[in-house]
Symmetry: C2
Subunit: 411 residues, 2 copies
C-alpha cells in the first residue's frame, strides 16, 4: 500500500504545470485545495480522474530495455559523449521521414530541433520571441504548461475561447485587428484540458487571418498520433507553413520520462533557436535520443501507438457512456477523437470547485476548470482524465460524480 | 577511416559553447578559422589538442548497460513516467550524502535541484537573477558556455583576470566598490580553459569581499572530483554559504550525454528556481536519473573516478614534460592539479591565432585563447586539451607545436 500511495501522490504532483499553478496562480483559491487533492491522492479508495499522465501500463518497458542494451553494446561511447545541439541526426531524419509518410508533409531535417519535451520548445520560443508585455493569443481553456512558459517572459495574454469547432474566429479577428500578437498558442488536436479538435473549416479560418501577418502560430501537437475516432484535419504547418512552428513529442507515444520532443520551425526561427538551446543545456540527452531511435527502428512503432489508442479509445467510450447514463441531461461534455482528456460543462451557476469539495467526500476526484483559464477563479467547467483508469472503474467513478452533481443541483 | 573522421569532426563541433563562439562572437576573426579547424578535424594525421571533451575510452559503458537493465527490470514504469521537477529523490539524497562524506559539507536535499547538466544551472540562474545590463563578474579567461548563457540575458560583463593564484583581488575590489554585481562566475577548481585553481588565500579574499554584499558567487565545479595532484581547497560554499550557488555535474565523472548536473542553492534562490525549471522542461530526464543513480550504487564510483584521474594525470604529466623539453624557455604554462586543460602564454607580441595557422600546417591543433575573453581578438594565449590524447601522441604533438613556436619567434 505505501507504494501505491506514494505513486498516486506522485502522479498528481507530477502533472506538467500543476505544481506551479497550485503554488502561484491560484493562491486566491481556498488553500485547502492542494491539501485536499493530495489527501485524495493518498487515499486508494478514491477514484481519480484528476491525473494528467499517460498510462504507465502501456510503456514499452521490455522494448526500451532491448534498445538500451543494443545502443550501449553497438555504439556505447558515442551515445554517452557530448553531441550536437540540433539533436541526433538519425532521429531527426526519422522525424522528417515520418511527417512525409504519415502526413505527406515535407519537413527538411535542418528545420527540426530536438528538445527536452515540447515544454522546452515553448520555453525556447518564449525566449527568442517575447519581450515583456508582448501580446500573445492563447486558447482558453488552455494547457497549463504553455501558460506557465510564456508567463516567465511576462507576455500579455489574450485568451480566445475554444469550442467543439475550434477557436472563436470573431474573437481572434478582433484581437488581430487591434493588436499584433507575436504568437498564437494552439493545441488543435485533442487539447489538454478540453479534448477538443479544431474543425478543418476552423483551421482554414484561423490560417486566413494569419497568412499575411507577422504572427506566428504555435501548433503544439503532443496528442496528434493518439487518434481513435474521426479523420485527420489539415495541419497548420500545411495551411500556413511560414507562419507555423510545429511541436511534437514522444512523451505520449513512447514515454514521458525521456523528455524528448522537437520543434519544426521555418528557417528564420530555426536559426534563432539553436544558440539559446545551446546556452540552455548544450543539447538534449544524447543517450535518450539513441535509445528512442533504436526502439522505433527495432519495433513496430505504429502498432504500439495503435495499442495505446485502442485502450484510450475504449476508456473514453466507457466514460461517455457512463456520463450519458449517470449525469443529469443538462451537463455538457466534449467528445474527444483522441488524446487523454474530456471537458465537462456544468450548469452556468454551478461551481466546479464546490463540486470538487463535494465529490472527494464521495471518493471521486477531477481537476476543476479554473487553472486552465488566464484569470478566472470560479468556473462551471472541469477536466476528466480517462487515460489512467480502466473502464470498470470509470463507470463507478462517473456514477459517484453524477450523484455528487445531482446533490449539488438540488442544494 | 570515415568513422574516425566523422568522430573527430563531431568532437570539435560538439564542444560546449564552441559552435556559437564560432558563429557569433568571433565573426571579425578570419572566417577561414572555422573552415581550418574543421579541415584539421577531418585529417587523421593531425594531432588535436583542440578538443574539449572527456575521454570516451573511460566511459563505463558496460556498467551503464547493467544499470539501465536493472532500472527497467525492477522499476521500469516509474522510471519512464513523468517525475518531480526537483529531481529523483534518491539521486538528490546521494548528492547530499556525498557532499557530507567527501567534503564535510552539509547540504540539505531540499537545496538540490537536478538540472540538464551544469549548463542548465547557468541558464536558470541567468533567468531568475539577470535583467538587461545588470553587472556581472566573470573570470577571464573563462568558460565559453557561461559567457554564452549570460549573454542571452544581456548582462554587462566585468571580466576579472585569473592567474595561477586565482582571481585578481584588486580588480574584483575595484568592481565591487563601484558597482553592485548581481553575480560572480567562477570555476575555482581546474578551470576550463586555464586549468587554474584558486589558492586557499585567494578564496578567502574573494569570500571576504562578498560576505556582506548582495552579490552571489556561482561556484561552477564540474572538474572538482578530477584531482590528480595537490590538496583540496575550501569551497566557497563553506566560506560564504549564503552567497554561494554551487553547481555540480556527472558529465566529467560518468558521461556527458546524460546531461545530468545539479544546483545547490540557498533557500531564497532555490524557491525561485523551481518554477522556471518546470516551465523550461518540466523535469530532467527521469530515466537518466535512475540509471546514473543505479550505476553509482552498484559500482565502486570512487574507483572509477580514480581511474579517470590517473589517466588524465599521466597525460597532463606527459604534456608538461614535453613542453619543458620542446618549447622555448620563455613560454609559460599553467600546472593544473586536475581537470582536462592547460593554458599556455606565448611571448607578449606573439599571436596565438597566427600560431594556429602555422601549427595546422605542421599537423597539430589547439584552441587560440581569444574566444575565452569577453572582448579580445588577438591574444598570446592558447588552450591545450590533454584528456583525449595518449602520452605518446602528446609528445609528438608538443614537439611539432614547439617547432611551430620557434619558427614563429624567428619570423
Amino acid at each position: 500500500m505505501p507504494g501505491l500511495i506514494k505513486r498516486r501522490e506522485q502522479e498528481i504532483a507530477d502533472e506538467p504545470g500543476i505544481n506551479s499553478i497550485f503554488s502561484d496562480r491560484i493562491s486566491d483559491v481556498p488553500r485547502s485545495f492542494i491539501r485536499e487533492i493530495l489527501k485524495v491522492a493518498v487515499d486508494p479508495s478514491v477514484i481519480s480522474f484528476a491525473g494528467g499522465l499517460p498510462n504507465r501500463e502501456l510503456f514499452p518497458v521490455a522494448e526500451i530495455k532491448q534498445a538500451a542494451i543494443r545502443v550501449l553494446e553497438e555504439n556505447g561511447q558515442e551515445a554517452l559523449q557530448y553531441s550536437r545541439t540540433e539533436g541526433y541526426q538519425e532521429l531527426r531524419q526519422y522525424i522528417s521521414q515520418s511527417y512525409l509518410d504519415k502526413h505527406n508533409l515535407e519537413i527538411p531535417v535542418e528545420n527540426i530541433l530536438i528538445t527536452n519535451g515540447s515544454q522546452q520548445g515553448l520555453d525556447l520560443l518564449g525566449k527568442v520571441l517575447l519581450n515583456k508585455e508582448d501580446d500573445i493569443v492563447i486558447e482558453e481553456p488552455g494547457y497549463l504548461g504553455a501558460i506557465q512558459a510564456f508567463m516567465v517572459y511576462r507576455a500579455t495574454f489574450n485568451p480566445v475561447p475554444v469550442s467543439e469547432e475550434g477557436m472563436d474566429i470573431g474573437r481572434l479577428e478582433a484581437i488581430m485587428s487591434t493588436k499584433a500578437p507575436k504568437l498564437i498558442y494552439s493545441v488543435p488536436n485533442f487539447s489538454n484540458p478540453s479534448g477538443i479538435s479544431y474543425s478543418a473549416d476552423n483551421r482554414r479560418a484561423v490560417a486566413d487571418l494569419l497568412r499575411d501577418s507577422h504572427t506566428l502560430l504555435i501548433e503544439d501537437d503532443p496528442y496528434g498520433d493518439l487518434r481513435f475516432a474521426g479523420q485527420e484535419k489539415p495541419s497548420f504547418k500545411r495551411l500556413i507553413p511560414d507562419n507555423t512552428v510545429l511541436l511534437g513529442s514522444f512523451s505520449k507515444t513512447v514515454a514521458p520520462s525521456f523528455r524528448l520532443g522537437w520543434i519544426v520551425a521555418p528557417d528564420r526561427i530555426m536559426e534563432k533557436l539553436v544558440i539559446p538551446k545551446q546556452a540552455a543545456d548544450l543539447h538534449t540527452n544524447n543517450f535518450a535520443q539513441h535509445v528512442i531511435y533504436r526502439y522505433i527502428k527495432d519495433n513496430d512503432f505504429e502498432e504500439h501507438i495503435k495499442k495505446i489508442t485502442v485502450v484510450y479509445g475504449s476508456q473514453r467510450n466507457a466514460m461517455i457512456e457512463s456520463i450519458r447514463q449517470y449525469f443529469p441531461g443538462e451537463i455538457k461534455h466534449t467528445n474527444p477523437e483522441g488524446g487523454m482528456f474530456l471537458w465537462v460543462t456544468l450548469p452556468e451557476q454551478m461551481s466546479s470547485m464546490k463540486l470538487f469539495e463535494r465529490a472527494i467526500q464521495d471518493k471521486v476526484a477531477f481537476v476543476p476548470g479554473h487553472p486552465f483559464y488566464i484569470d478566472r477563479k470560479e468556473v462551471n467547467t472541469l477536466r476528466l482524465n480517462y487515460s489512467c483508469v480502466d473502464a470498470e472503474t470509470i463507470k463507478i467513478g462517473i456514477q459517484r460524480l453524477g450523484q455528487a452533481i445531482r446533490e449539488q443541483l438540488a442544494a
